[in-house]
């Protein structure tokens, strides 16, 4: 009977040990995350770059794939790859790579691929993007005392792109401000004409308008910026160097320095005389 009890105890000990060790093992082999990668092409004036985002699902919520290392390649017709570099996603799960030099090749379309080899944390992932080259030229013109923004969208063959959706907006500190109805479609000449009816304020009258082809399937995002001088100059309302009631002590208004100090000096002058009078009284005991 006693032997049986000991036997039971040994079996129980082995089972518990197995459970404990196996859970530790499971914990150590944490499940690799499946990452979703997205690629976006952007062109602002003559600078072209790829914006890459990565995220993975954890506890039913998407989290940025911070630290995910990605190799970026240009893919050619014969499936040969030319490395454009390696990037790591930041805390927000985003990274940008300048690919302006790629477009000196004058190809009808460009293919890109990003690739991540499997690591301890993330599974293997790759993503490709194909874009065509396009040009967006924008300028400010004047017709009958009215300013217009004129923009032309052409493809790599210099042919106008018809019915493309272009945003026309004014650059502002936090978010761009739509001009007119904001969205315009190119005509058969690939052009838009947008009148500027409102006089907007700008530092020294400077206003930067932008025409944007936003996230097009064929061309990506292309932005053209027009620097103008047609704004209402902003008057500097800062009182930084002025003497005001809200300035630091060294810039208090003169009246706030002179009047209180005169009052203080006047009253404390009398108080000093009165204290001296106490001394005079004590000294005049024999008068």
């Amino acid at each position: 009977m006693k032997n049986l009890n000991i036997k039971n105890h040994i079996v129980l000990f082995i089972c518990l040990s197995f459970i404990a060790f196996s859970s530790t093992f499971i914990y150590a082999q944490e499940k690799k995350k499946k990452v979703r990668v997205s690629l976006h092409f952007n062109k602002v004036e003559n600078i072209s770059y790829l914006k890459i985002f990565g995220k993975y699902k954890d506890k039913k919520k998407y989290k940025p794939a911070n630290g995910l290392a990605l190799d970026v390649f240009q893919v050619f017709e014969n499936d040969s790859l030319v490395s454009l570099g390696t990037i790591n996603l930041d805390k927000k799960g985003a990274a940008t790579i300048d690919i302006s030099k790629v477009f000196q090749q004058n190809l009808p379309q460009y293919d890109f691929k990003v690739f991540h080899k499997a690591t301890d944390k993330f599974k293997k992932v790759s993503k490709t993007l194909t874009i065509q080259m396009a040009n967006l030229a924008a300028k400010l013109i004047t017709k009958k005392d009215t300013y217009f923004i004129e923009a032309t969208l052409t493809n790599a063959q210099n042919e106008p792109v018809k019915d493309a959706e272009l945003k026309v907006q004014l650059q502002r500190l936090f978010a761009p401000l739509a001009v007119g109805k904001g969205i315009y479609f190119t005509d058969e000449n690939g052009m838009i004409h947008v009148p500027i009816t409102e006089k907007m304020p700008g530092v020294n009258g400077k206003l930067n308008y932008e025409v944007v082809l936003d996230d097009s399937d064929d061309f990506g995002t292309i932005k053209s910026i027009i620097a103008t001088n047609i704004g209402e100059p902003i008057k500097d309302l800062s009182t930084f160097d002025q003497r005001t009631m809200w300035s630091p002590p060294s810039k208090a208004p003169w009246f706030d320095i002179i009047i209180p100090n005169l009052l203080i000096l006047g009253i404390w002058g009398y108080l000093v005389i009165l204290v001296i009078n106490l001394y005079r009284i004590s000294k005049h005991k024999n008068s």
């Binding site: 009253i267 404390w268 009284i281 004590s282 005049h284």
Partner: protein
């Protein structure tokens, strides 16, 4: 008519009796309790109080405004009545000066108590902005304190000399009175300096007294907060201060008349006159109250309406209406009757007015802070209300006890009623000083 000796015997300071000693012991115990509570505050911070992000001014600031208010009585009785040639107020001048000095000392101390980091008080002087009403307040309080002390001290000089002679057999006491009397012997030059000084102080204290309470009012009125944003606040505070001060003088003069047997000097006539003065002051203050509450109530802007609703019908309504009706309206009505201007009824009324005045400051300072303008979110529900903690109350009681201890100690060592002035007004001639007196 009393002789000079009888007058001196009546008005000279008296030793504490049994009740006096118990009273002093009680005050010392309260102060020690407050010091313990302040030690807790100094080590743990203002978190031991009920003040939080919403109600960042509580009973400390109410108490400070009360002290400043009550200190104004020094200018009312001593300066305004003196300059107006009101002779009946002479026995009350010293009492009001003592109250003024005690109150302004404790008022200044209360501000330091309210500071979360009192060790940084020097920063106020080194980095203070002359544009800020807080700096004006510090300047004007210091000035008023010095003027009040001088106004208490100058008229004391002849009395101290009289006491020196009276206690010539008690050498130690006589020596101290002699030292503080600054060799006063009433010669022509000394009298000339003395009169000029008192006259100057009486004139000087009026604008400074008005300044101290106006600036205190501006601490509130220069903000946009409902209940404070008022151009009426300066005169409103001054009118209220005179009411509180007059109530304080009435209460103290009754107590001192009883304890020091001064019926011949502080007579029913004095009570009657102070009663009439108190009615006048309350009516003026009520007039300012009507302005202060009725005009915003008529306009009923959104924020003001929320504040006034809270005062008239909300959580603060009971306190608000008690202060207005019991603390002001009923005393004013009762004091219209001569019987109510007798010493005991007037004392009770004076006491009620003083207590009402303290709570009035609470009503002015705190409720409006519970309506923050900034959208503060995610704070505990308890922060929407302000309830002073026990330690906060203990510290506040300690400051009040401190003021009363200063009054008690001053009353113990200096004459409550000016001996010299009373003798002069009643043509009681001081006997010739002997040669030995002169030598000593």
């Amino acid at each position: 008519m009393k002789s000079f000796e009888e007058l001196t015997n009546d008005l000279a300071p008296k030793k504490f009796g049994l009740y006096g000693k118990i009273w002093v012991a009680f005050l010392v115990v309260v102060i020690l309790g407050a010091m313990y509570a302040y030690y807790q505050q100094a080590t743990k911070g203002l978190v031991i109080t009920g003040m939080r992000d919403y109600a960042l001014w509580g009973i400390y600031i109410s108490n400070f405004v009360f002290f400043v208010a009550i200190s104004l009585v020094g200018s009312l009785v001593t300066a305004i009545l003196r300059l107006s040639g009101v002779k009946w107020a002479t026995p009350l001048t010293r009492i009001s000066e003592i109250i003024a000095v005690a109150a302004i000392i404790m008022g200044g101390l209360t501000i330091i108590i309210d500071m979360g980091r009192p060790d940084r008080i020097l920063n106020l002087f080194t980095h203070g902005r002359l544009q800020s009403p807080i700096v004006w307040d510090v300047i004007v309080i210091t000035t008023y304190l010095v003027i009040s002390i001088l106004l208490l001290y100058f008229p004391l000089l002849p009395d101290l000399q009289i006491l020196r002679r009276k206690y010539k057999n008690k050498k130690k006491l006589s020596k101290w009175y002699g030292k503080f009397s600054l060799n006063w012997n009433g010669n022509t030059t000394q009298r000339k300096i003395y009169k000029w000084s008192i006259q100057t102080l009486s004139v000087l204290i009026v604008p400074v007294a008005f300044g101290i309470h106006t600036v205190t009012a501006w601490l509130f009125a220069t903000t946009y907060r409902p209940g404070w944003d008022s151009s009426n606040f300066g005169p409103y505070f001054i009118a209220g201060a005179f009411v509180a001060g007059a109530g304080g003088v009435i209460s103290l003069m009754y107590v001192l008349r009883r304890t020091h047997h001064l019926k011949d000097y502080i007579t029913d006539f004095h009570f009657d006159q102070m009663g009439k003065l108190l009615v006048l002051l309350i009516l003026v203050y009520l007039y300012f109250n009507v302005n202060e509450y009725l005009v915003p109530a008529y306009k009923t802007t959104e924020k003001e309406a929320a504040h006034l609703k809270e005062l008239f019908f909300g959580d603060e309504a009971l306190l608000f209406w008690t202060v207005i009706i019991v603390g002001l309206v009923i005393p004013a009505v009762l004091l219209l009757f001569k019987k109510m201007r007798k010493p005991l009824p007037l004392f009770i009324i004076g006491l009620i007015v003083v207590i009402g005045a303290w709570w009035k400051r609470f009503i002015i300072v705190t409720p409006t802070l519970l309506h923050p303008f900034l959208p503060i979110q995610g704070v505990p529900e308890s922060w929407h209300h302000y309830n002073p903690t026990h330690l906060e109350w203990l510290i506040t009681w300690g400051t009040l006890a401190g003021a009363m201890l200063i009054v008690t100690l001053l009353v113990r060592f200096i004459p409550i009623i000016p001996i010299h002035e009373t003798a002069e007004e009643n043509n009681i001639v001081e006997p010739e000083k002997t040669a030995s007196d002169e030598k000593s």
